[in-house]
C-alpha cells in the first residue's frame, strides 16, 4: 500500500521536475544577448530542414483535405439547396481548425520527431558535452535555432495548408461538381473575416508551434542517451505533442469563438 503511495509521489515529483527542467531549458536557450551574425546561418539551416522540407507533405495533405471537405460538404449541403455555402464551409473549417491543427500534427510527426532523434543522438554520442568542453553553450548553439525555426515555420506552413486546402475545395466544388464560381468566392468573402478567422488561425498556429517545438526539443535534450532511450523519446514526442495540440485547440477555440 505504502509502495503505491510512494510510486504516486515519485511520478508526481518526476513530472514536476520534468516540467521545470523543460522550462529552464527554454529560458536559458532563448533569454540572453542575441548574436545575429552567428545565429542567422544556423537559423537558416534549421528553417530549411524544419520548414522547407515539410512543405511537400503540407501541400499534398492540404490539397486532399480541402478536396474531401468540398466533396463531403457538397453532398450534405445539396440536400438543402445550400451548395453555395460550400465556400464558407470549406474556408472556415480550414482557417479556424484544420489548418492550424492538422499542420501541427503533421509537423509533430515530420519535424518534431526528427528534432528529438537528432538531439537525442547528439546527446548519446556526447556531442553536446563536447560543445560544452569547447566553451560553446549547446542550448544557445543547438536548441535555440531549432526552436525559432519551428516557431517561424509553422504559421507559414499553416497558411500554405489553408490556402491550398481552399483551392482543393474549389477544384472539387466548382470545377467538378458545378457549384457556381462567383457564388463560391463571394459567399466565402462575406463570411470569412480577417480578424476573427485568419488572425485567430495564425495565433493558434503560433501557440501550437511553440508547444510542439518545445516538447520535441525537451524530449530530445532530456532523453536517456541509449538507443532505447532515443526511440522512446521520439515516440513520446509525437504522442505528447499531438495530445497537447488537440487539448490546447479546444481551449483556444473556446476562448476565441466560444
Amino acid at each position: 500500500m505504502l509502495d503505491r503511495v510512494a510510486a504516486l509521489g515519485r511520478t508526481t515529483l518526476d513530472t514536476i521536475a520534468g516540467a521545470g527542467a523543460a522550462f529552464f531549458m527554454l529560458l536559458r536557450a532563448l533569454v540572453g544577448k542575441p548574436n545575429l551574425r552567428k545565429s542567422w546561418p544556423l537559423l537558416m539551416q534549421q528553417m530549411y530542414s524544419v520548414g522547407v522540407l515539410s512543405l511537400v507533405i503540407i501541400v499534398v495533405s492540404g490539397l486532399f483535405i480541402g478536396m474531401v471537405l468540398g466533396l463531403q460538404g457538397y453532398t450534405i449541403l445539396v440536400d438543402f439547396g445550400a451548395e453555395q455555402s460550400l465556400g464558407p464551409m470549406v474556408a472556415l473549417s480550414l482557417l479556424r481548425e484544420l489548418g492550424p491543427v492538422v499542420t501541427a500534427l503533421l509537423f509533430a510527426g515530420r519535424a518534431g520527431s526528427a528534432l528529438t532523434a537528432e538531439i537525442g543522438l547528439m546527446k548519446a554520442t556526447e556531442q553536446l558535452s563536447s560543445l560544452e568542453m569547447m566553451g560553446v553553450d549547446p542550448l544557445r548553439r543547438v536548441i535555440s535555432p531549432r526552436f525559432w525555426a519551428g516557431f517561424y515555420s509553422m504559421p507559414i506552413l499553416a497558411m500554405v495548408f489553408s490556402a491550398v486546402g481552399i483551392y482543393g475545395g474549389y477544384l472539387v466544388g466548382v470545377r467538378w461538381l458545378g457549384v457556381d464560381d462567383g457564388a463560391f468566392w463571394s459567399v466565402m468573402q462575406s463570411n470569412v473575416e480577417w480578424g476573427q478567422d485568419i488572425v485567430n488561425g495564425i495565433i493558434k498556429s503560433l501557440v501550437f508551434a511553440f508547444v510542439v517545438t518545445w516538447i520535441a526539443l525537451h524530449k530530445g535534450y532530456s532523453c536517456t542517451p541509449t538507443s532505447v532511450g532515443i526511440s522512446r523519446a521520439t515516440t513520446s514526442t509525437v504522442v505528447t505533442a499531438s495530445l497537447a495540440v488537440l487539448g490546447l485547440d479546444f481551449v483556444l477555440t473556446a476562448l476565441m469563438f466560444g
Binding site: P41, M44, Q45, M47, Y48, G51, V52, L55, A91, L95, S153, P155, I156, L157, M159, V160, S162, A163, V164, I166, W185, M188, Q189, S190, V192, E193, W194, D197, I198
Partner: protein, 155 residues
Amino acid sequence: MESRNTQLAVGFFVIIGVLALLFLGLQAANTSVVTNGETYKLYAKFDNIGGLKERSPVKVGGVVVGRVSKISLSGDYYEPLVEMTISTEYSEFSDTTSVSILTSGLLGEQYIGLNPGFIDETVEMLKDGDQIYDTKSALVLEDLIGQFLFSQGND
C-alpha cells in the same frame, strides 16, 4: 555554396507563406469592410431588435453602407439603442430617413435596412451622432402568431 542554396530555399519558403496569406486575405476574406475608412455614427431606438448583433450590416437597397457598432439599452424604459457606424461616402441622409430590421432570406441573418427619406428645404440632413426616430422593429415570430390568434378570436 551549400549555405546560399539553403538561404534561397528558405527565402522561397517565406515568399510562399506570404503569398498564401495574401491569397487568404484578398480572395477568401472580406477586406473591403466599409467601416475601415472615414465613418460617422447614427443612432436608432427600436422596441425589439430580434436577432440583430454587433457587426451586422447596415444596407441601403441591399448595398452595405456600414455596420452596427454597438447595441445597448437606454432611457427610463430600457429601450434597445443601436449605434450604426456608416461610411462618410454615404453622408447625405435626410432626417426623414427610416430604419427597419430585416432578415436576409427565410432563415438568414438579420440586418438593418436604411430607407433614405425625401429631401427639400424644410428637411435637415443627419449629422454624426444624430438619432433616427422613424424605426420599425424586428418581426418576432411569437408576436406574429399571437396577433394572428388574437385577430381570429375577434371574428
